[in-house]
């Protein structure tokens, strides 16, 4: 039993009589170090207090077990166990009494003796009447109401009810006030209610003599007030702490994979976690400070339960263990408004402020410490899920021992580990080095391994396995025992350069691990915008689902990664890809549910802008509106179509995103590339749906060969040299008129000339399209209009690449004539323009290219030079051309 019972023993009749009338006995007891038990005030029958009564309340410690076993002066055995006194009575039956508290006395001359205050006398009285337990501890709301009910009368409660409802009507806008005002108002209400309670004669009389009762009444009144206004009050508090809560949630969500060992908590606590966590989660359900703190107390008790189970002696729970445990539990609790609850407990407890140093404040302080610890980002570095990678390595040796026969261990596994390690740290060169190791080996062997089931032990497979042992260098698509590829790792740690390199090496971005998560999932969950952009620009599906049917958007929304959300949404808008933001996961939650639950206002706004519906119900029939726990969010959610206000800021931030997108492409990813073009230049992406549509129109026009229309769209002079193109486009009756219209405010298209280097979702610029489709005259026009000849598609292809790939001789000639083309540029497959010519065995193009002195020793991702390509298709003319070129050099 929780005893916060307290009384001043100097006022206790029993103790007074002992000291005054049985002075000799008392002195003897103090000198001998005997323990004096004092029944709490009011528990002793009035007629008692004989010598024998005192004898039975003085305990002499046993010689052997002085801690727990005692004998009374009238020869009865007494045991103390877990704060309960057991007295052996004459008939052989035992009865017990709680020890309420222990007080150590030091007399004037520093003589020390100990007094136990017990709940009931240690002497059974023949009439069997035991005073009813007068000890009420108010730990729950129920206790509080019971106390007020029994100690006062119905009218008191009714009057308090009136007071509370009056308060609620007069302070209708309580939740919109600043926190301090709320606190003051509620404090005023508490004082008023306490006055009402103490106006009651009976209660006033009792409390004036019993401080303990007074304290309890205070707590009860406070709790009653809390309960009455909780719904309104907590709304107000969450409103005030919304921002803090959201940023706290973001930290917590991103730590959600945390393990006990990350916090240096011993494994022995594992067993208590479920119980402790479910206790802690209930904090939300209590409407009173008393209830919430009680919930913390139960949590702490649950944490310390492990000791009693594991060992008899029970090593006590120390602060060194309690704090990390609380940190862990808070992270795992899944409550969305911890700061609000903490504020409530800290600021709205009026009655307990006088015992400040008590357990109540200790519990709240511990929670505060845990929350501060999380909030201040103390949990960095090893606490991130990367630590799980490390564990995998710890765990591995055992696995290997057991599965050595069927699992090709050794160099392959370790190489894979070091590959992952390099990817994690962003060591791009190291990653490439390891991956190239594979390429230098024979390529075929690994396929055999991939096809074969790891457990298969037929002769053929065994043979293949032993063969492949020789070459276990991991490929870009090798995965470990969790199904992670190196791309997953790089995406998880936001190593944009590595991701870029891997994508170029042909890593499959769609590949999912055993949880069904793709690299995009991990990037979004961890909030690495750069990698997200790289991945989506590589053309992956934007809505892949993992085993829990979470899309990357779900994860980014749950973890509060606004930038990733906006990158995804913006990308879909820009490319016009069909994208449903209302997909539901296994719980029936949409991304909007996640964002609303954790209070990320900005994300909610962005999602709403892109058509997320606030009315979708999840499997518990909760809509995002139901999950929103603060008022700002409710407001945003309930006015999803209020576009004027929030729309503009979102648009602005989207523009910032596009800047960010551009800057990722400017990151110097491309050390591998030939010197001629040290950076890839991507086209300019339009940042509005209108712009996207225009680009599509231009490209279509080029594809269909409508040069004039394309020129019109791009607002370039159709031709400077060709007279036939002098006339206007049919849509425009004459040149003058077009000029007029261009100066016209309505003709925005013409007014804002389109950037010549615009591109679509694949990075195709007009120049690319013209080169691909062989529109030589348009290529010339575009180049004259300052189109960039080295601009690349997302596959890293320059116009020259496309021209060679599609065997557009004239276009290639035009491009090369500019002398601006970097002829040795490699695309994402490592091919130069010459590679493509050779692959297509187009000797005419090869001749053309060779006249511009390209390098012919460049190897593509398959490790082949152009000459190798030519040999492979046995194109004799080209082989000859190349060898001649070699010799000429």
């Amino acid at each position: 039993m929780e005893s916060n019972y307290d009384e001043d023993l100097s006022d206790n009749v029993f103790f007074q009589v002992l000291q005054n009338e049985f002075g000799a006995l008392f002195e003897r007891a103090t000198l001998e170090g005997w323990i004096i038990c004092v029944p709490r005030a009011g528990s002793m029958p009035k007629y008692a207090l004989t010598t024998n009564d005192f004898f039975s309340h003085i305990l002499i410690p046993n010689d052997e077990l002085p801690e727990t076993h005692f004998r009374t002066l009238n020869d009865k055995d007494v045991k103390i166990n877990n704060r309960v006194l057991f007295v052996e009575s004459e008939v052989g039956t035992t009865f017990s009494s709680h020890v309420l508290f222990e007080e150590t006395f030091y007399s004037e001359d520093m003589l020390k003796y100990k007094v136990l205050c017990v709940e009931s006398p240690l002497q059974q009285y023949c009439d069997g009447v035991r005073a009813e337990s007068g000890i009420t501890t108010v730990l729950t709301l129920r206790d509080c109401i019971d106390l007020l009910w029994t100690e006062s009368c119905k009218e008191v409660l009714e009057r308090m009810d009136d007071c509370i409802s009056l308060f609620l009507t007069t302070n209708e806008r309580l939740e919109f006030l600043p926190l301090q005002d709320q606190k003051d108002l509620v404090g005023g209400l508490y004082t008023k209610c306490l006055q009402i309670a103490l106006k009651d004669d009976r209660l006033r009389e009792k409390t004036s003599s019993n401080r303990y009762l007074l304290d309890n009444v205070k707590v009860s009144v406070e709790s009653y007030v809390h309960h009455g206004i909780y719904k309104k009050l907590i709304k107000g508090i969450t409103g005030c702490t919304a921002y803090e809560d959201a940023s706290f949630n973001k930290i917590v969500r991103n730590l959600s994979d945390i393990q006990l060992r990350d916090l240096n908590i011993g494994a022995e606590f594992q067993s208590v976690i479920p119980k402790a966590r479910s206790e802690l989660r209930r904090v939300e359900g209590y409407s009173t400070v008393v209830g919430k703190v009680g919930c913390l107390r139960k949590t702490v008790t649950a944490i310390s339960c492990q000791d009693s189970a594991s060992s008899q002696t029970g090593s006590a729970l120390a602060a060194d263990e309690l704090l990390p445990m609380l940190v862990f539990l808070v992270i795992k609790s899944g409550l969305p408004n911890w700061i609000a609850h903490l504020t409530y407990m800290k600021e709205f407890s009026y009655s307990s402020s006088n015992y400040h140093a008590n357990q109540h404040s200790f519990l709240v302080t511990s929670l505060e410490a845990a929350i501060t610890y999380i909030k201040d980002d103390f949990l960095v570095g090893p606490m991130e899920p990367e630590s799980q990678l490390a564990y995998q390595e710890y765990d591995r040796p055992e696995d290997e021992l057991s599965s050595e026969d069927e699992k090709p261990s050794g160099p392959g596994v370790t190489l894979l580990t070091s590959l992952f390690e390099a990817a994690k740290k962003g060591e791009e060169d190291e990653v490439k080095r390891i991956l190239e190791q594979h390429e230098t080996h024979s390529a075929s062997s690994l396929e055999g391994l991939n096809l074969c089931h790891p457990l298969c032990s037929c002769d053929k497979c065994e043979k293949q396995l032993s063969y492949t042992m020789c070459n276990m260098a991991p490929t870009v698509n090798s995965c470990d025992d969790r199904g992670f590829t190196v791309l997953h790792i790089a995406a998880m740690y936001g190593q944009a350069r590595v991701v870029d390199a891997l994508l170029r090496m042909g890593a499959k971005p769609e590949k999912s691990d055993y949880k069904g998560s793709t690299a995009l999932h991990y990037s979004c969950a961890r909030g690495h915008q750069n990698t997200v952009l790289l991945l989506i620009h590589s053309g992956v599906k934007l809505n892949p689902v993992d085993n829990e049917r979470n899309t990357p958007l779900h994860l980014a929304a749950a973890n509060g990664h606004e930038t990733c959300i906006k990158a995804l949404l913006y990308y879909t808008e820009q490319t016009g890809i069909e994208f449903d933001p209302n997909l539901t996961n296994n719980h029936g939650d949409t991304p909007l549910h996640n964002a609303a639950r954790w209070g990320y206002t900005n994300i909610v706004q962005a999602l709403l802008e892109y058509g997320a519906s606030p009315f979708v119900g999840n499997k518990r029939k909760q809509t995002p509106l139901d999950l929103a726990h603060n008022m700002h969010l409710l407001e945003v959610l309930s006015n999803p179509f209020r576009t004027a206000g929030p729309a503009t800021p979102v648009n602005i931030s989207l523009k910032n995103i596009s800047v960010a997108a551009a800057s990722t492409s400017q990151l110097d990813f491309s050390d591998e590339r030939v010197d001629a073009s040290p950076t890839i230049k991507l086209g300019v992406r339009p940042n509005s749906t209108d712009g996207i549509r225009k680009v599509e129109r231009v490209l279509r026009a080029i594809m269909y060969g409508d040069v004039r229309l394309a020129c019109f769209y791009l607002s370039i002079e159709p031709s400077s040299g060709d007279s036939e193109h002098q006339s206007c486009h049919p849509l425009c009756s004459c040149k003058l008129k077009r000029d007029e219209s261009s100066s016209n405010a309505v003709g925005t298209k013409a007014k804002e000339p389109m950037n010549i280097n615009v591109c679509d979702s694949d990075g195709m610029t007009p120049l690319h399209m013209a080169s691909k489709c062989g529109r030589a005259e348009l290529v010339k026009l575009l180049i004259d209009a300052k189109a960039d000849v080295n601009v690349c598609t997302l596959n890293g292809m320059s116009p020259l690449h496309l021209a060679c790939l599609n065997q557009r001789h004239r276009v290639a000639a035009v491009l090369l004539e500019t002398h601006l083309c970097s002829i040795d540029a490699k695309d994402n497959f490592g091919n130069t323009a010459l590679h493509y010519c050779c692959q297509n065995s187009n000797s005419k193009l090869v001749t053309l290219l060779l006249s511009y002195t390209p390098r012919i020793d460049i190897r593509n991702n398959d490790g082949k030079t152009p000459l190798d390509e030519a040999k492979e298709i046995l194109s004799l003319t080209i082989i000859q051309l190349l060898t001649e070129y070699c010799l000429k050099d």
Partner: protein, 219 residues
């Protein structure tokens, strides 16, 4: 502050005492040893030693000691202020076999002086004197240091129950003195607002700072 210490003028005191010091110097054992005393640890209700109450009665004055254990690991250092604010006393524990832990004590003292001025009573405990052979912190150095910062030094052993009770008792008495001074000051301030420095008895060079600080706190 005074409201917390004197329980509504009944002559009862509520004191908050924090234990500070590096991990594994024996803070928890000390507090357990002190509070358990005659009873084994099954006696402690929730088996947790992070927060314990001890009721004392010294010369007729009732004192309720709330003893707060704190997490000692370095990574939790920044949480210190959350724990030690509003405390009346602090026990700084170091391990006599561990020079580092003594350095930590010095840091804590510096921090406490900075944050709480001399409102707080300090005791320094060199724990684990049962391992005297492995002592790494010289007795003179430790005691000299304690004197220089106005703290009282104890050589303790939680294992053998050496000086634990004395440590807490002495600290309690000092906290009582401090509280009584504050009460007197308060009374003086009521009668005449000047001459705030007259009642200082305790030998502590930082002392003059105390009155001004506390009178602001006594609301």
């Amino acid at each position: 502050m005074a409201d917390l210490q004197t329980n509504g003028g009944t002559g009862n005191y509520n004191f908050k005492v924090v234990l500070l010091g590096e991990g594994r110097v024996g803070k928890t054992s000390m507090v357990l040893r002190y509070v358990e005393d005659k009873f084994n640890d099954q006696h402690i209700q929730t088996l947790q030693a992070t927060f314990l109450n001890k009721k004392l009665n010294i010369g007729g004055k009732r004192i309720n000691l709330a003893i707060w254990d704190t997490a000692g690991q370095e990574r939790f250092h920044a949480l210190g202020p959350i724990y030690y604010r509003m405390s009346n006393g602090a026990i700084l524990v170091y391990d006599i076999t561990d020079e580092d832990s003594f350095q930590k004590v010095k840091n804590w003292v510096k921090e406490l002086k900075k944050m709480l001025g001399s409102e707080i009573c300090l005791s320094i405990a060199g724990n684990k004197v049962d391992l005297e052979k492995e002592r790494n912190v010289p007795v003179e150095v430790a005691e000299e240091y304690a004197r220089s910062v106005g703290a009282v030094h104890f050589h303790t052993s939680a294992k053998l129950n050496v000086s634990i009770e004395e440590l807490f008792l002495e600290l309690t008495q000092r906290m009582m003195e401090r509280a009584q001074q504050l009460e007197m000051q308060k009374a003086n301030e009521l009668t005449r607002t000047n001459s705030m420095r007259r009642n200082i008895v305790v030998v502590d060079e930082d002392e003059p700072a105390a009155p001004t600080r506390t009178c602001c706190g006594t609301t």
